[in-house]
Subunit: 241 residues, 2 copies
């Protein structure tokens, strides 16, 4: 069963301040948990309503009822299991190859989708501005579908970092060069901006390589692309060769 203290702790982990103070986060669902167990994430407790995860030691694996799972789950329709992990120490930034950098991405679903894209396109380093939604937010963890275990993520002062890097810096703007007609390198930092405001004015000053995804619709009114779909197209262009 789940103790009252455990319920209190786990539900508190939906908030960033409690994830920070406890240095813990949680993931739900067999697939996501399985992928995190196979990576270097340190398991604290695994709660499951089924007789699975038998490889997890008895002290850490706790079989619970569906009604108990509901009490700790962040999902409207809980899965069959929830695992609490320690937040690992941030690793050093790997400054080579293609790096994706996010300037204040706020939507957890967007961040999760972008992390999956990094994983698919072999981008092993994701850099987030401090205003970007927390990677250990339960909605982000869920949306990454396990990719969180394979991409190195750092939260830093993005403006400061970008000012001192020797890698070429790319950003997308309405008035940039047609990305389909631009030679794109194998190394560089690609910056994606906030959902509503795009790339901040401070960062924009530093970006030398301005790119645009051309619009093919006839009507001028077409909304800008969602940041996750724009990231998909940009990473595809950098990788397709």
């Amino acid at each position: 069963m789940v103790s009252k203290n455990q319920i209190k702790l786990i539900t508190s982990l939906q908030q960033k301040k409690y994830r920070s103070s406890n240095q813990l986060f949680f993931a739900e669902g067999i697939k996501v948990i399985q992928e995190m167990l196979e990576s270097n994430f340190e398991l604290v407790h695994l709660f499951t309503t089924q007789n699975d995860f038998e490889e997890v030691s008895n002290g850490k694996r706790i079989i619970i009822t569906e009604s108990d799972l509901k009490k700790i789950s962040a999902l409207a329709t809980p899965n069959t299991c929830l695992a609490v992990f320690k937040i690992p120490a941030e690793k050093k930034i790997i400054e080579s190859g293609l790096i994706l950098a996010l300037d204040s991405i706020r939507d957890p679903g967007n961040l999760g989708t972008i992390l999956r894209l990094c994983d698919w396109f072999g981008i092993s380093q994701l850099i987030c501005s401090k205003e970007t939604v927390d990677i250990y937010n339960p909605k982000v963890v869920q949306a990454t579908m396990g990719s969180i275990a394979r991409v190195n993520v750092n939260y830093i002062d993005l403006e400061n970092y970008v000012s001192q890097t020797k890698l070429p810096i790319f950003g997308t703007f309405m008035d940039g060069n047609n990305i389909y007609k631009t030679d794109l390198p194998k190394e560089g930092i690609i910056i994606m901006g906030n959902e509503a405001n795009g790339i901040s004015a401070e960062l924009e000053k530093i970006i030398k390589n301005r790119l645009t995804i051309p619009r093919f619709g006839n009507i001028q009114k077409t909304e800008s692309l969602n940041v996750a779909t724009a990231t998909a197209i940009i990473l595809s262009e950098f990788r397709r060769g």
Copy 2:
């Protein structure tokens, strides 16, 4: 103010069966409503908490309180306005150029994002299998950001339609041809499959052109791409020339 009957009607429109029986749907937010008003959607009522939309006739425009808006809104944090529109009659399918077809897309956010992509890439015809989530679902309407006004959408028996078309048919599979190395035509039907199960076995038999978005990550375990991001990459490839 909003009458009890109006509250009952509008909240019922969150369910497909009541949208069908009333032939009505609703949209929220200034931007989305503005785009629908400028298109051919027939307004029934516009409820707003502000002194805006003055071009709408007095009989149709109703100024309400924030607390009344909360009662009719489908959003956790209501906007400032909500408009009820008539569901337009389905237009004939435009069988030329590029057509996107969806086989049982279930997530409203995915459908909304895909509709925005159609709009961006100048795809004016979207065909959905009857199992695909309803385009007038409030979450879809919200996610389209107004693109719903510019893309022709039809719900049909997809297998039947695809069996009789003369256009070339494309689908993405794990074992298809590298999309980056395939000559893609200016005309054709691109089929995207269900979030969990991909393209159905029945449809797969009919698809002659099998495409794959290559994976660049080192590790075999990389999850498949989300259907909306895969659609973004595929439409980009078809259009980039």
